[in-house]
Amino acid sequence: MKQSKGDKIFHICLGIFMFLFVVITLYPVLNTVAISFNNGLDAVKGGIHLLPRKFTVENYQKVLQKQSLVQGALVTVARTIIGTLTSLAANALLAFIVSRKRFLFKRGMSLFWVITMYVNGGMIPIFLLFKTLGLTNSFWVYIIPGMVSAFNMLVLRTYMEGIPDSLEESAQLDGAGYFTIFAKIISPLCLPVYATVALFVAVGQWNSWFDAMLYNRMSEQYTTLQYELMKLLSTVMNQTGSVDSAKNAASSVTPVSIRSAATIVTMLPIVCLYPFLQRYFVTGLTIGGVKE
């Protein structure tokens, strides 16, 4: 106990460090919330920190009236739901196949997919392939190409390999086929890791924008929330020091204020959900991190 004084100082320093860490993490987000609820013209003057100075919900009204953003939101919700379900089903089935001890091509199938983690054709050949397959200017470019991911498959495989073989063997004695074993025996035991993978896929789907820009630039009906947000971001960046441009605008909504509101709308679903899903991604990462 002789170290108690040094201990005290250490814990005070630690407390300060953690406090600063939290402030640096949260401040930019809270600041965006404040700006999103502030009169746009007023916000240009600066000096807004954690609370709005001239409160308004006008920015949010504008965002909800913007047809492209609403369309983007619909597409994003659709791709997140469909993409997560199909990707989970595909990865789970593949992981099930390569984790069967007696499967004839167990090693070959694993290798076939692990290679895809390290080698790929690159942006241009993939772009041309999608064009040939009719996946450009199509909703399905969000779903089909990324359906199987070797990383997620490996996370699932590792988990499935931890399930005792005796369960499978006794089911086989009862005459169950592989589909029954997959659907009725293995899958119910894998629900935690299914949740993990679903979370990874869903976050990826929700946040991706590059595919919308690259493959569906010409098809406004397939725009996504993040891509629309990106367009708003470039408007803001291309007119920095925007006092003049703001003066010219007819309403009190500025590109910065509308972008802030759109940012909050976009992040809200994930921010509300992730604290409750912590144990799923923590286990998923620890499984995935140590394996291949």
Binding site: M18, T25, I97, R100, M109, T116, G121, L133
Partner: protein
């Protein structure tokens, strides 16, 4: 994986029939994988051609290594390689150090409640897209943003700094963006590794009179060393992949000599200028370097007796 060696590996008809479900779906997955992962590799042929979409792969003229010669004679491409490596390595080092530091410090926190709260908040940025992260970073660093305001208040500057107009700031900004987004998330694995360290080691060290720093240096750090090494191995192969979204979103004409990366170069030549051959050649270069990095890292790990990837 080599456990089942003793089992008979002879393919009997009965076994094939029994595994019908597995085999059928495997075939589906192989076709799918071939289309989306292996067929694009065939597109590499474009790098050795003067590829014209109208003429196709068969009709376009072969030009040998001309496209690669063009690349390495192009100063922009050399600049782009430098930028990609510099930012990739800078990001790798800073995110690694910060995540390890954060995990160790978080582990030292006494209050369980406080720890939980800090950790939950630390994950938040990981779930935000790069669009959002670069957007709020842009706000924070703008003329009316918090950074300039604080610097002014403390009298460190007399005039606002335009962070996005000076090339010197670009790499640090990108590194900071990565640290801000991923520190809490990357710390998860280290925290799990720290929890797995045998507590009796710390007790024994305490009896020997080891202080906090001695314990961190001689127990915690060696304890998470295998985790650090394996993550380093995985990430070294990804160094060149770390250079796209932030640079694309934050880059502008004033800083493009330091902001452009290989992927942005490919995008410009391939997608915007329709020169598929140059774009593909640059892509092949990137793949080759990435694979070489993984193999070298793996070799070094094997030599030094660390875990290896494969």
């Amino acid at each position: 994986m080599a456990k089942e060696k003793g089992k008979d590996k002879k393919i009997t008809w009965a076994e094939v029939k029994r595994q019908k479900f597995l085999l059928l779906w495997s075939a589906v997955f192989v076709v799918y994988g071939a289309i989306f992962y292996y067929i694009p590799l065939g597109g590499w042929i474009m790098a050795f051609q003067n590829y014209k979409p109208a003429k196709g792969f068969l009709g376009s003229d072969f030009v040998g290594m001309d496209k690669f010669k063009f690349l390495f004679a192009d100063n922009t491409f050399l600049q782009v390689i430098r930028n990609t490596f510099a930012m990739g390595i800078l990001n790798l080092v800073t995110t690694f150090v910060m995540a390890i530091l954060f995990a160790i410090l978080l582990n030292e926190m006494k209050s369980m409640g406080g720890k939980k709260v800090v950790q939950t908040i630390s994950y938040l940025p990981h779930f935000l897209s790069w669009i959002i992260v670069t957007g709020i970073l842009h706000d924070a660093l703008s003329g009316t943003g918090i950074v300039n305001e604080l610097l002014m208040k403390f009298g460190l500057i007399k005039q606002n700094i335009n962070f996005f107009a000076k090339p010197g700031y670009f790499w640090p900004i990108v590194a900071f963006a990565n640290v801000w987004k991923e520190t809490g998330w990357n710390a998860i694995i280290y925290l799990a590794a720290i929890t797995a360290i045998d507590p009796s080691l710390y007790e024994a060290a305490a009896i020997d009179g080891a202080g906090r720093w001695a314990k961190i240096r001689h127990i915690t750090l060696p304890g998470i060393r295998p985790t650090i090494m394996i993550l380093l191995l995985i990430n070294i192969g990804n160094v060149l992949n770390a250079g796209f979204e932030v640079q694309y979103l934050l880059g502008n004409g004033l800083v493009q000599s330091v902001s452009q990366t290989i992927d942005i170069y490919i995008l410009k030549w391939g997608i915007s200028q329709f020169d598929y051959s140059i774009g593909t050649a640059a892509g092949i270069f990137k793949s080759a370097v990435s694979i070489a990095l993984v193999i070298i890292a793996n070799y070094v790990a094997k030599k030094t007796g660390e875990d290896k990837l494969f």
